[in-house]
Symmetry: D3
Subunit: 242 residues, 6 copies
């Protein structure tokens, strides 16, 4: 069988162009615009000197995330969640994922009784918003933490390692890296992978959309994801060095 | 290193006793009490002759799930979601997972313009409520569909194959099958796997709670899950034959 | 006029079979499954060492109830209140009634600054869920309080006497005891009565569904209710002695 | 034992001065200000040519009520329910009661596919707001129905008889009629009774606040309520004749 | 062009009859029924010894307002906001305006850590409810503050000057004062003006409904409003002297 | 008295640099990033072939707006409205204003049964977000309408004229144009003005924050606003010609 062609013409293991722009807005302690191709997510890190009730008085900090999609980030307008009066299940699921992913590289005791909130707002969506959000939010988090270190508000760096995330999937029988919207809406399996810079897995979330996937397909997807995350981790370091 | 002992004394690949009781309540078209050890979930299937708005007039059916936990299913009482006025993120995430898992084995065109809702209510929780819910809900769904076939409301069986789910995790360095609460609250990696009776994966959701997991650990977990799902799929068939 | 026959074949003053099962689930301080025929309500008592704001610092405890109906406890599925985002008027009315009824037999000063919450969740409904809930919740409350006494957390028994509840109504002109669903949906008058073990009335709530009821009809209903509550109070004591 | 004195100096069977003012505001089809002493409730009847979903196409009408309390109708300010974002349990309970009471005297088929909503808003509260609301809402309902008859929108009067309501209670051991706030907050038993002009009972709702009440006490309260409702039914007729 | 006639027959600069009735209900620290013609608003001032979170511990007080419209204050019934579960945008806008207007004449330091809430509830609407509310609420506020002074709870009068409000608009080309509903629903420009007794402007809110308004039209409207506010300020003083 | 200096060093009648970038995101029918200095608002216009219920079947279209502020658009993080479950009063007030302003230049009959929604989301705030939103939303609206004309979906241009908005205020006694955050939080009077390209006023909303403003101050502010709106209307035309 001939190799199916990806709608974008990319080869199976090619990511879209990735850009990470720091200091995108001026008020946040960390502010990053991350683009995976046409997917654009603004990730703002805010530091506050308080923790949620369940942590009060324990000498630990908290890292959490909120996720939103501007109503017209998508092909057709979707309802504004603030106007509907509640966040949908997809939104809650994604922001819980982002928060867990980032907490995996933070020593919360070294952070002290502080909360860092990562607001990830999708300005334009073309598939992979949650993986872009995690990848960008890490950089915003690193900037916010550096600010605390620079100000000597904390003495020890709470950040151990880095995390990045990418999607992989089976498009017309072919395992591919970094799905865009055209692929995402027409693929058999969709998987989001979060990894750290030690090559360990933080999250693996795979869903069979069409037929169930076999163990060998899963293995092929994991290998693609490992490559993609390595590239993203390098892009993060390049941005932070910039 | 000596092998750590599981709190329950089970061997690493031993599931808890599983029971599947059909016709547990009398009104629902399918009603199953599923127990994975001390975890007890009541799964009721309701058939209604209408579909959500986005499917109206398309000649297709819908299968969906709702999940709830009785306030005192757990060690300490948790707030009643109806009283708080909204379902939490965990609840939404789980009920979305159950719905996706079951839709993976249903031909929605054969179902006609009907909705089958699977209400999965946890009466008692001891870890693994979402995997027990999926496993039990499948049996309730099968009973509801058999009722439609018996009544000649539908002519062709919309059910293709079966699905079951189990949790696996790394407890004190040891990959183990079917985590109970004592293990779940003290494990490094927690993974929920949904498989079908063809040995294919429907969902893979793994989270590193402590340290990130390596590829070989992931492989060990997947193998345990394959075994667990095989046992559960057999238990489902035994129950349906009963 | 010939005597009308009840749908169940019961005589006018016959209750349905009543069962009260203690320790139905394992986490709650008191856990009772109560059945009035096909009506099944799970009543869990939870003890917490805090009181609502209006009682803080007054040295008194609180006893309250929450009521819920599983979506498919009924003939046709009803919306899940947690998903709709609010509890309906009927639910609020019933849980307020259960709370008042139980507080009528508790010395809240002897309880100390504790809250006991009675969660009454209907697994299966066939009429009389609120009266079953009160009757079962009393037993769960008694178990929870006994636990506090056994643990010497409190020194004096806050429970004075017992309460039970039953419904009565006029079905096709005949006063009858303990309405089931078939009667409830086709009766002229529906009345719920809560009594204590001293023969006193705690609550009397009667509604004319069809024609208004006369004083003599009311008297006949009250006499039936007195008999029914006596039987239920005996069943509670038998269960607690078990 | 000497007879206790009521705070207001009234004799045990004396109601407060009752006034019923029709056409209190100008837009509503029926608008009544009813006062039981210092309790003042504005009852507006609105006629709309539509029915709730469950009645659509059945050729029947609907009569329903909504109840509200201005935030400063009471001694201390209570939260505005619109600002809190939900109606409390007490509010829902009362408006359900008012609706049921009024439907008891309406032939909904004669009403045609119309809804009459009775908005009962408490301007000033001094005990007995729900019984005043029922009593006043009946007059507003009668005015609204008369308007439909006058306009020949309906040909047959849907109103059969009248309903009125009063509270009774046991204050310091003495059965008394029409509790004001001072008595209501310090009484052992509180009962609200709705009756029709045929002397039949529509609703009986009694609650023991302190000690449980005996059968003979209940009988004394019912007799007082019969007298009070007779007086209120006469006041309604006088107002309607005015 | 001939002068158009106002629906009410009033001349262009004539206000409707204004009445201000103090002590309208008995519980509130200030209670005023204000009428601008058929527009009737009950304004109750409540004093509470606490302040919102953002002012706690600052030694300052707060003055705020809530606004509501009884469902049948209007020609056709509108939904009860408490039942819908939220206040509409118009309501929030108006209550924010009332609060700002009244704070403009209060020295919040002299008030001490107290909140005065002005509940403005529209019993009957015929245009101009927000301006009537501001005008009446000022008098209720003055009464509440006098009560604090009389009780020596505060030593210095926090009230500096007075505020009143009126609407003006361009009706069929003619600038007119104090629009009633018939004019309001058929006018080109609608403007609400709040002024103080020093002749200064507190709020100017003008909206072009039909064509945009010119500078000279705006000037004519402002002059009418100045006259109207002067009359209202005099009516307030007369009422307070009464 | 010497002239006070504006924090930005601008002269009293100098606006901040204004930029209007069209086609900022790719999915919306009109997408504009508007900047008034450091205030950045993304204005997306979405065309949908349906109208709200109150316009159905009337052959008219609708133009409406929604407004949001990213949580960290401001100096300190504010709560996400979607997470809190409701839009605040300020948000509702602003989006109602934007909608009214834009409808003032649209012939809704020529639009046909379509809704154009303007989503105005503040990415970065430095004062004047609502006036920037109106100014930018007009351009997005013009682009969306041009798209309909180009596609021949409509035959006649519904747009008559243009609207723009600017804020003015009295900063330390000096009337100034286009307040930034530093001025806004420290000014005596704050006024937002919407004008059309014919020099007419669409909205005038002025609030005395400190002392009340006099007629002559109001006149000075209006003159500044006229100048500012002229400049903004020119900037809009330049952008649309680009």
């Amino acid at each position: 069988m001939e190799n199916p062609t990806r709608p974008s013409g990319r080869s199976a293991n090619a990511m879209r162009p990735v850009s990470i722009t720091r200091r995108f807005t001026r008020h946040a302690e960390g502010s990053v615009l991350v683009c995976f191709g046409d997917t654009q997510v603004l990730c703002n890190a805010s530091v506050e000197n308080r923790v949620p009730g369940f942590l009060r008085g324990k000498g630990e900090g908290w890292v959490t995330a909120e996720y939103g999609m501007l109503p017209r980030a998508t092909h057709t307008r979707s309802d504004r969640e603030a106007a509907r009066g509640k966040q949908g299940g997809r939104t809650l699921e994604i922001q819980r994922l982002i928060g867990r992913a980032l907490r995996a590289c933070v020593d919360r005791t070294a952070l002290g009784e502080r909360t860092i909130t990562l607001d990830c707002d999708v300005l334009q969506a073309d598939g992979g918003t949650r993986t872009a959000a995690i990848t960008g939010a890490y950089v915003a988090l690193a900037d916010a933490i550096q600010g605390l270190l620079d100000a000597k508000a904390i003495l020890r760096n709470p950040l151990h390692g880095a995390v990045a995330a990418v999607s992989v999937g089976i498009y017309r029988g072919m395992p591919v890296l970094d799905l865009d919207y055209a692929e995402d809406s027409d693929c058999d399996t969709d998987m989001n992978i979060v990894m750290n810079d030690g090559g360990g897995f933080i999250e693996v979330q795979g869903t069979a959309e069409g037929h169930a996937f076999r163990r060998d397909e899963l293995n092929a997807l994991l290998s693609l994801a490992e490559q993609g995350c390595r590239e993203l981790l390098a892009a993060q370091q390049a941005a932070l060095a910039g």
